[in-house]
Symmetry: C2
């Protein structure tokens, strides 16, 4: 291995399948890097659990991935990013990348009128992580946050193209339409799969921020700056999937998240 | 304490709030008994997890309740009953009561044409526990099982009276309407809260079986026979609520499950 490169994989962690939208963006951009994706499918979802529990689970998963010698860790789950990142950075020495800061930066850049909406799980919204980060970037932004607890099951169960889903999205997002937001952060990795419905309800003038792309951009900057050392030139990245509960349903749903690319060789682990 | 009575509480276990429909039926029928309700809210829901994981969690919860000296254990969760009961009965010496057998017995009694439908979580349906038990009672019964994964979130998020819920219930239950079932087992403790919508879709000729009442009947027979020794005459039963994640949201949703009776003094435990 030449100095300055590192052939170890990058760890990507999510409570379940949602983080695959982030993995997809990373793999597309860095095909030479290896990735270990870990979905904590035995304890999914995190979005309705308490801050304390989410933090505890996040630390457990991270310490497992550190043992598997990842060179950097992407916390793809918004809820885990909102609650676990601070504690995580105190415990591990490798670079840790969450999804909230990249999403906020992109939203602040896209917003024309400074009226930003954020949708996420109950726990992410209760944490206040998004408005806190947005106001740190620009204190003049006006932020409206909204928990959308039914969106994850609608995506997981593949109801996104049903009329009922449209009704639920419409009724849920009403406060954001009323607030006339010009930019909407999809603050949960499941929501990009509902993007069309959400766009239909919010109208075409509202910019939708999908953190997956924002995270890939951030990682590119880490690799350029050497904060994360890139894979040796000419490498062919390897993908490893780990889950904490059996793989059958993970494989089925994961394929949908990866636009039809089948997921094979899923390893079950005990945390 | 006189011989033949036992002032220890009865343990009632569920993955979350759903088992409160069973607790409610038990308390109404046995006001002199004490109950410890344990909702494994940190790891809810069980209904999409694997058999192995559900069994493991069920054994952990049961061994905790045994340490709290319950005199009997009601597994109120259908998924835990379907997957964990056999292992549980090998490990603990106190009487263990699940929800599946009582529900099946009631359904077999109510059915006029022997065409029985069962709805439940994905994991409950995959286990085959309901058809297996029904065929044990009467091999001539024709059973149609159906997983309804969106019903739990609709109940938890209180969308039961929305038009979208009616659409989802209608579309999901179509195979059972087509199968002309005459009796439908609500094989998940959340479903009684959707009873009106389900009844509207299935039609008034279809008998709906709510296991909560069936379990209370079964417990009455245990207490009469002395399989479970009753509380001393004149006792005033005490209710204790335990959860594995913070209590706020549990209290809010629990109140809905208990028809507005507020739930106070919830204790958080670590399993």
């Amino acid at each position: 291995m030449s100095v300055g490169t590192d052939s170890h994989p990058i760890g990507v962690f999510d409570s379940g399948v949602g983080g695959l939208t982030v993995l997809k963006a990373l793999v597309r951009r860095f095909p030479e890097e290896g990735f270990i994706y870990l979905g904590d499918t035995a304890r999914v979802p995190y979005g309705a659990k308490s801050a304390r529990t989410v933090e505890r689970y996040t630390l457990q998963v991270a310490s497992y991935l550190v043992k598997r010698e990842v060179k950097a860790l992407v916390v793809a789950c918004n809820t885990a990013s909102a609650l676990g990142l601070a504690a995580l950075r105190q415990r591990v020495t490798i670079p840790v990348q969450g999804v909230i800061q990249p999403g906020c930066r992109m939203a602040a850049r896209l917003s024309r009128g400074g009226l930003i909406g954020v949708i996420g799980t109950r726990t992410t919204v209760a944490s206040g992580a998004y408005p806190h980060t947005l106001h740190f970037l620009d204190p003049a932004l006006r932020v409206t946050s909204l928990a959308c607890p039914l969106f994850v099951p609608l995506v997981e169960e593949d109801w996104v193209s049903h009329a009922a889903a449209r009704m639920i999205v419409e009724e849920t997002l009403r406060p954001l339409v009323a607030a006339s937001v010009d930019t909407l952060i999809l603050g949960c990795t499941h929501y990009p799969l509902l993007k069309e419905v959400i766009a239909g309800v919010m109208g075409e003038k509202v910019a939708l921020v999908d953190s997956a792309e924002a995270v890939a951009e951030e990682m590119a900057s880490h690799l350029v700056k050497g904060i994360v050392r890139p894979a040796p030139p000419g490498s062919q990245g390897r993908l490893t999937y780990l889950v904490t509960d059996v793989a059958d349903r993970f494989q089925e749903v994961a394929t949908r998240f990866l636009d039809g690319v089948p997921v094979s060789h899923v390893e079950m682990i005990d945390l």
